[in-house]
Symmetry: C2
Subunit: 143 residues, 2 copies
Amino acid sequence: MSRETDELKQAGLKATRPRLMILQLLEDAEERHLTAEGVYRSLLDAGEEVGLATVYRVLTQFEQAGLVKRHHFDGERAFFELDENKHHDHMVCMRCGKVEEFVNDEIERLQREVAAEHDFKLTDHRMELYGLCANCREDREND
Amino acid sequence: MSRETDELKQAGLKATRPRLMILQLLEDAEERHLTAEGVYRSLLDAGEEVGLATVYRVLTQFEQAGLVKRHHFDGERAFFELDENKHHDHMVCMRCGKVEEFVNDEIERLQREVAAEHDFKLTDHRMELYGLCANCREDREND
DNA sequence: ATGTATGCAAAACATTTGCACCTGG
DNA sequence: CCAGGTGCAAATGTTTTGCATACAT
């Protein structure tokens, strides 16, 4: 019984083949931030027969179970990332789509401060920086 | 010739009735953050005959002209807000949906700093705080 | 065995687009 | 007048759902 099987059971989910495959994929993928479609195609490429609807259902269950975080970097589609319980924010390259993670404790502190000033009970927050990553930036040394 | 007519012309847009109505609505609305559907319904309620497709087209044109900013607070639908060229971030109440605006120069500065550290050319950013606003918080003094 | 999960196809949304008609300057 | 704008309906892309079948325990 694999570690993934345990993780699923602890999350209260039956260890079915699609769920195992999706969890493994999220754990092993080089790119941590995947769309449902991306997960789906990766599984097909790996020879797994799975339905796109199942991918959506499983990712949503994973989210509810706290295994995964859902992001909306643009307004078009959602990105899913394994939730390792290490909070971080994102920096998204508008050219190649690369997503880098970062944490800045000072910003985190200021956010709590701002919320307090407004008598706002903070439960969550999101912060994303958009622009050009180091690589794409080079390719455009003609702006 | 109204001020709105001028604003449209300066933005290079013909002053048509739908565009005037939408611009006025955005300027006068109590709630500054509206969905396309919201704009559409407000116009219908006001007796204006306009198509939803036109609302989308006009809002997109306004965005390109810099008159309006588009936000994706959740991943479901876009919110539009008049762009007064005063950058700010948002605090969204998860209970009543209220959106408050705020600015914190120190956070802004740190964002630029983080981007620089990663060799990232910053073009835009988004930051949203989610939680309970002062009012909704009171209603729940039983948590 | 049996309640749950899956796959497929159809539905549901938000948003965009093609096209014939209308309108502002 | 006539390029550009609008309304409608149909298309799109993403995500959800209904339902009959397949599977984990």
